[in-house]
C-alpha cells in the first residue's frame, strides 16, 4: 500500500468531458495504461472500458480446441473493445469514491469485487467505495451485458486504470497542498501524508484535484504482488442491507402511483387472450383499479398484490392456444430424436472397442427467488422503467420499439435482482410492464406470480447428448459428442439491438449462428482423446428459453464424464487414475489431485454409497469435484413432509482455479451455490411438459435443492493460481458437480442413468390447475406457526 507513487505525465488535452472523443488507449507495457481526468468540479477519473484489457494469451494445445485459444469470454471482451466508452471513478468531497458499474448485480458479488479493485488501486478503505448499477447507456453498445461470467474479466483492467488515475491526480494535488514532491508522499486509507507528518484527506483534495479540461494521463497499475485488498477474503458490501431487510429489489421500490399489477395467463404455454368475458365484474372487485388486455394475457392493477391474485383468479377469459398446445415431454423428445444427425464416422480399427452413451436432459427452470418484475411509468412523451436487467441497452431499444418511441425517450434503471441464473439476460417483465402501463395509462408495479415464473419463465431447453469413443488398449483414439436440443434463445445478443436483431433473422438462422458460436467458444473436451469432435443441433424455437447458468456445459460434461468412467472401466483404471492419465492441462491436473487428496478418493465406502469424480474447464478456469452419494434405502426413503428426498449427496470436495481470485470468499460462495445447482440438475429438478404446458407452479413442484438435499459437508478449495488475470466465476461450480454426482450415482447403484434428473419420470406432486392460472393463497397460516 505504501509503494511510492509511479510517475505520470499529462500527454494531451482534449475536448471537454461528455464529448464523443474516444482516443485509442494502448497499453505501454503490461502495467502502464492511459486514462483520463475529465473536466469537472470534483475529481472525475476515467478509463476506456473497451481498450484497456491486454490481449488474451493463448495456451499451446495439441491439437488445439477452439476454447483453448479463444473462448466465449474473449469474444465478449473483444466485442467490447471497438465501441466501448468511458467508465468513471468520482471522488466526492466526503472522501468517498463512487463508481457506476455498467453490469448487473444479481447476487454473484460483482459490486463487492469491483469495490475491492477500486479500494486497492486508490488506497481507500472498502467502506468508502460506493458501487452503484449504471442505467442503460446506449453509447456502451456491446459493453453493457452481464453474462458468460465475463464481468470481472472485461472490467478488471479498466476499473483499475480509472482508480489509478484518480489516485495519481490526488497525489498531484496533495503535493501542492503539502508542499512536497509526489515521490515523497504516502497514500493510505484515504489520507495522503508527507514525510514531515502533515497530511490531507482525499475528501479535502476532491475539488483541488479536479480538472477544468479533460486531460489524458498515463498511469502505472499496482504490481499484483503488492495487492492488499484484492485476493483477500472479503465480506459482501451489501451484506448488512441484506440481513436487515434494507436491500431493495424491484418490487420493494416505491414509485409514485405504481400500484401492484399481475397478469392472467393462458392455460397453454404462450397462449394469447381472445376476449374477457367478465371484465366489468372484475373491475368491481375490492381494490382493483384497472383491467387491460395485453399481448401476453390480461393484466390487473390493484391496491395490493393480494387483490391482484384474487382478480386474476376471478377473470374469465377466452384463450387462443399457444404454439406448443398438445405437446408433451415425449413428443418433444421424439422430435429431437428425429433431428439428430448421424454421429461422425469412427476410425476403423478391428481391435478397437467402442464405448458410448445416449442421454436425455429434460427442461429445467432458472426461476430465481425474486420473480420476474418491473416498474413502468409510460407517459405520452416518454417512459421510465425500473427492473433487474443484464442487457439494459437492448431492453431499452425493444421497449421503445413496443411503445412506438425513440430509445432516448425510454429511461431504463437497473435494479439489483434476487438472483438471475441467466434469466435476467432477458427483460420479459420490463417489456410487459411497459405495454401494460401504456394500455392502462397508469404507472404499474408488475410482479409475476411464482406459478407464472415457473411455467412461463425462461428455462434450460430439453436436449439429448450422444457420446461415442474409441478405445484401443490403453489409448483413446477418438471422442465424438453430439448435442441436439430445443433452441436456446440468445436474442438478447451481445447487449444491444444490432446483434440482438442478427439473432432474430427469419428461420432462426441468426440465433442458430449465435448458438453455434457460443457452443464452439465454450465447449471443449478436457482430455487427450485423439480425434475430438463436438457438435450441436438446435431444433425448436417455440419455448421460452435462455442461457441458464453455465449454458451447454452441464449437460455436455455429464455425458462426457459418464462415458469417461466407462472407458476407465474398459481399461481397468480407476476413474481418478484415468483422468490423470489423459489430462492435458497442468492447472486441471493440480485441481484434480487436490480433490482426490482432500476428499480421500478411494476410501472404503459401504455398499449403496460411492464416490464420483469429475472435471471441467471453461472461461479460462478449471475445476474438479469429488462427491460422495448415499443411495441406500434408509436414505432414499427419508420422510420429510412434502419433500422429495431420494439419494443424498453427503459430501462435496471442490477445487477451483479461476485465475486471479479477486475475492476468495465470494468465489467460495459462488462454488457453494453452483454445487447445489449441480445436485439439483442431477437428482431432482426439472419441468414436466404435459399437453401444452409445464406442470410446475410452486417450489414444492420444482425441486431445487433444499436443506434436506444439500450436502452436510462441503469443502471448497480456491487453488493458488499461476494466472495473473481474473477468470469467470459465476458459473464454474455447476458442471463438474452435476457430472460428479451423476458418476457417483452410477457407481453406487451399478446403473448408468440415461436421463436427468434421475427422478424425472416419477411425478412427485399433484399439478395445480391451469385455470385459474395461479393458486389461491392459503388462510391457515396461524395454524402452522413454529
Amino acid at each position: 500500500m505504501n509503494a511510492p507513487h509511479p510517475a505520470h505525465t499529462p500527454t494531451t488535452t482534449s475536448t471537454p468531458a461528455g464529448s464523443d472523443v474516444v482516443p485509442t488507449t494502448l497499453p505501454l507495457d503490461r502495467r502502464r495504461f492511459l486514462g483520463y481526468v475529465l473536466a469537472g468540479s470534483t475529481l472525475v477519473a476515467a478509463a476506456d472500458l473497451g481498450g484497456a484489457a491486454p490481449p488474451a494469451a493463448a495456451e499451446i494445445p495439441t491439437p488445439p480446441q477452439i476454447p483453448e485459444l479463444y473462448d466465449l469470454n474473449d469474444m465478449l471482451t473483444d466485442a467490447a473493445r471497438p465501441t466501448a466508452n468511458l467508465i468513471t471513478v468520482v471522488i466526492r468531497e466526503d472522501g468517498t469514491a463512487t463508481f457506476a458499474l455498467p453490469r448487473m448485480e444479481v447476487g454473484q458479488g460483482i459490486t463487492t469485487s469491483t469495490a475491492m479493485l477500486i479500494a486497492e488501486e486508490l488506497d481507500l478503505p472498502l467502506d468508502k467505495v460506493e458501487v452503484t448499477l449504471a442505467p442503460a447507456r446506449q453509447e456502451l453498445l456491446f459493453n453493457q451485458l452481464t453474462g458468460g461470467s465475463n464481468t470481472t474479466i472485461s472490467t478488471y483492467t479498466p476499473i483499475r486504470v480509472a482508480a489509478a488515475v484518480a489516485r495519481a491526480a490526488l497525489l498531484d494535488a496533495a503535493a501542492i497542498v503539502l508542499g512536497d514532491t509526489v515521490a515523497g508522499l504516502v497514500a493510505k486509507g484515504g489520507v495522503i501524508t508527507a514525510p514531515d507528518g502533515s497530511s490531507v484527506t482525499y475528501g479535502e483534495l476532491a475539488a483541488r484535484a479536479a480538472s477544468p479540461t479533460t486531460v489524458e494521463v498515463e498511469v502505472q497499475l499496482k504490481d499484483e504482488a503488492d495487492f492488499a485488498v484484492v485476493g483477500t477474503p472479503t465480506n459482501r458490501v451489501d451484506a448488512l442491507a441484506a440481513v436487515t431487510g434494507q436491500k431493495d429489489y424491484t418490487t420493494d421500490l416505491q414509485v409514485e402511483g405504481a400500484l401492484p399489477t399481475m397478469v392472467c395467463r393462458a392455460p397453454t404455454l404462450n397462449g394469447t387472450p381472445v376476449r374477457v368475458r367478465n371484465q366489468d365484474a372484475v373491475e368491481q372487485l375490492p381494490g382493483v383499479t384497472h383491467v387491460a388486455t395485453v399481448s401476453t394475457g390480461v393484466a390487473v392493477r390493484a391496491e395490493t398484490f393480494g387483490q391482484c391474485i384474487d382478480a386474476v383468479r376471478a377473470l374469465d377469459v377466452e384463450w387462443a392456444d399457444g404454439p406448443v398446445a398438445g405437446e408433451s415431454d415425449s413428443t418433444i423428445l421424439r422430435k429431437l430424436r428425429s433431428a439428430q444427425l448421424p454421429m461422425p464416422a469412427l476410425p476403423p480399427n478391428p481391435l478397437a472397442r467402442t464405448v458410448g452413451g445416449d442421454f436425455t436432459f429434460y427442461f429445467r427452470s432458472n426461476s430465481a427467488m425474486d420473480t420476474n418484475s418491473a416498474i413502468a411509468d409510460v407517459r405520452d412523451d416518454g417512459a421510465t422503467i425500473w427492473a433487474g436487467l443484464k442487457s439494459p441497452i437492448v431492453a431499452q431499444q425493444r421497449i421503445a420499439e413496443k411503445l412506438g418511441m425513440r430509445p432516448d425517450q425510454v429511461t431504463v434503471n437497473v435494479v439489483t435482482a434476487g438472483g438471475s441464473f441467466g434469466r435476467r439476460l432477458f427483460f420479459d417483465a420490463a417489456l410487459e410492464a411497459a405495454e401494460i402501463s401504456q394500455a392502462m395509462r397508469q404507472p404499474v408495479k408488475l410482479m409475476w406470480h411464482r406459478a407464472d415464473d415457473a411455467r412461463v419463465g425462461r428455462g434450460h431447453p430439453m436436449g439429448t447428448c450422444r457420446v461415442q469413443a474409441v478405445v484401443l488398449g490403453q489409448e483413446v483414439l477418438a471422442f465424438n459428442q453430439s448435442l441436439t436440443c430445443v433452441e436456446t434463445d440468445f436474442r438478447h445478443g451481445l447487449g444491444e439491438i444490432i446483434t440482438a436483431k442478427a439473432a432474430d433473422l427469419p428461420g432462426g438462422l441468426g440465433n442458430q449462428g449465435f448458438a453455434q458460436t457460443i457452443f464452439a467458444l465454450t465447449q471443449e473436451v478436457p482430455y487427450d482423446f485423439g480425434a475430438v469432435t463436438q457438435t450441436i443441433i438446435e431444433t425448436d424455437d417455440r419455448f421460452n428459453t435462455g442461457s441458464m447458468r453455465n449454458i451447454y456445459s452441464p449437460d455436455v460434461r455429464v455425458a462426457g464424464e459418464l462415458v469417461v468412467d466407462q472407458m476407465a472401466a474398459k481399461m481397468g483404471l480407476d476413474p481418478y487414475e484415468f483422468r490423470r492419465k489423459f489430462q492435458r492441462n497442468e492447472r486441471l491436473l493440480a485441481a484434480l489431485d487436490k480433490v482426490a487428496e482432500v476428499g480421500e478418493w478411494g476410501r472404503r465406502m459401504p455398499a449403496g454409497t460411492a464416490q464420483g469424480i469429475a472435471i471441467h474447464k471453461e472461461y479460462k478456469g478449471v475445476s474438479a469435484c469429488l462427491v460422495e452419494i448415499d443411495c441406500r434405502p434408509q436414505t432414499t426413503g427419508r420422510q420429510i413432509g412434502e419433500a422429495v428426498t431420494g439419494p443424498r449427496v453427503t459430501k462435496v470436495t471442490y477445487a477451483v482455479d479461476v485465475g486471479l481470485a479477486i475475492n476468495p470468499r465470494g468465489l467460495e460462495a459462488q462454488m457453494q451455490g453452483g454445487i447445489n445447482d449441480g445436485i439439483a440438475l442431477a437428482l431432482t429438478s426439472s419441468l414436466h411438459l404435459r399437453d401444452g404446458h409445464f406442470l410446475e407452479a410452486s417450489w414444492d413442484n420444482y425441486f431445487y435443492t433444499r436443506q434436506w438435499n444439500t450436502p452436510p459437508e462441503v469443502e471448497v478449495i480456491v487453488m493458488p493460481s499461476t494466472e495473473k488475470q481474473p477468470g469467470g466465476a459465476g458459473e464454474a461450480g455447476v458442471a463438474a458437480t452435476f457430472a460428479a454426482v451423476a458418476c457417483a450415482y452410477a457407481r453406487a447403484t451399478g446403473t448408468v442413468p440415461t436421463y436427468f434428473p434421475i427422478n424425472h419420470k416419477q411425478l412427485s406432486f399433484e399439478p395445480k390447475p391451469f385455470v385459474p392460472p395461479i393458486p389461491e393463497s392459503p388462510t391457515n397460516g396461524l395454524d402452522l406457526t413454529s
Binding site: 440481513v243 391496491e303 417450489w699 436443506q707 452436510p712
Partner: protein, 164 residues
C-alpha cells in the same frame, strides 16, 4: 373498509384494508415494510417468514382480519429489538443477524430475511426443549434459497443459536 389494528415491530398500527387481504400484502403494499419477501404466496418458499407472538409464521397465508390488536408481529426490521441492547452485536443487530454477517451468508439476499427469522424461531424452539440444534433440525428447514447458500446458512444457525 374495516380498520385492522395490530402491533408491528413494537408499535401499534392501524390500517384500512379488507379482512381477507393476506398480511404479507398489508405489510408490503400498504405499510411499506418490505423485509418480508414474496416468493410463492402459498406458504411454500418461506421467504416471507416473520414472527407472531415470538413464533415463526408466514404472512402470505394469514388474512389480516385474523390478526388481533394484541398480536405482536415482528419482521426482520424489528428483529434487533427482540433482544436487550447488551445482547446485540457490533452492528447493533440480533445475534443471528450478526452470525449471518460473520459468515457472509447472503448472495442475492432475497431469501435471507426469511431464513434469519426461521433460524431465530428454530433456535428458540430447541432452547425451550433444552437441546442444541442438530443436523436433522437443519434438514427440515423449508426456506428455499435459489442461490444455494445452504452450507453457510447451516453454519450460521449453529453459530447464531449459540450466541442467543
Amino acid at each position: 373498509m374495516p380498520l385492522q389494528t395490530f402491533v408491528l415491530n413494537g408499535k401499534t398500527v392501524t390500517v384500512d384494508v379488507a379482512d381477507d387481504v393476506r398480511l404479507l400484502w398489508v405489510l408490503r403494499d400498504r405499510l411499506g415494510v418490505t423485509g418480508p419477501k414474496y416468493g410463492c404466496g402459498i406458504n411454500v418458499c418461506k421467504a416471507c417468514t416473520s414472527h407472531i407472538n415470538g413464533k415463526a409464521f408466514n404472512p402470505c397465508a394469514v388474512p389480516v382480519g385474523r390478526v388481533g390488536p394484541d398480536d405482536e408481529i415482528t419482521t426482520i426490521e424489528g428483529l434487533p429489538e427482540q433482544v436487550e441492547a447488551p445482547q446485540r452485536g457490533p452492528n447493533g443487530l440480533h445475534p443471528m443477524q450478526e452470525a449471518w454477517l460473520d459468515r457472509d451468508v447472503a448472495q442475492c439476499g432475497y431469501c435471507q430475511p426469511g431464513q434469519i427469522m426461521a433460524a431465530v424461531a428454530l433456535a428458540r424452539k430447541v432452547r425451550e426443549e433444552g437441546r442444541e440444534v442438530t443436523e436433522s433440525d437443519l434438514d427440515t428447514i423449508r426456506n428455499i434459497c435459489r442461490c444455494g447458500t445452504y452450507t453457510r446458512i447451516r453454519e450460521a444457525i449453529v453459530d447464531g443459536a449459540a450466541r442467543m
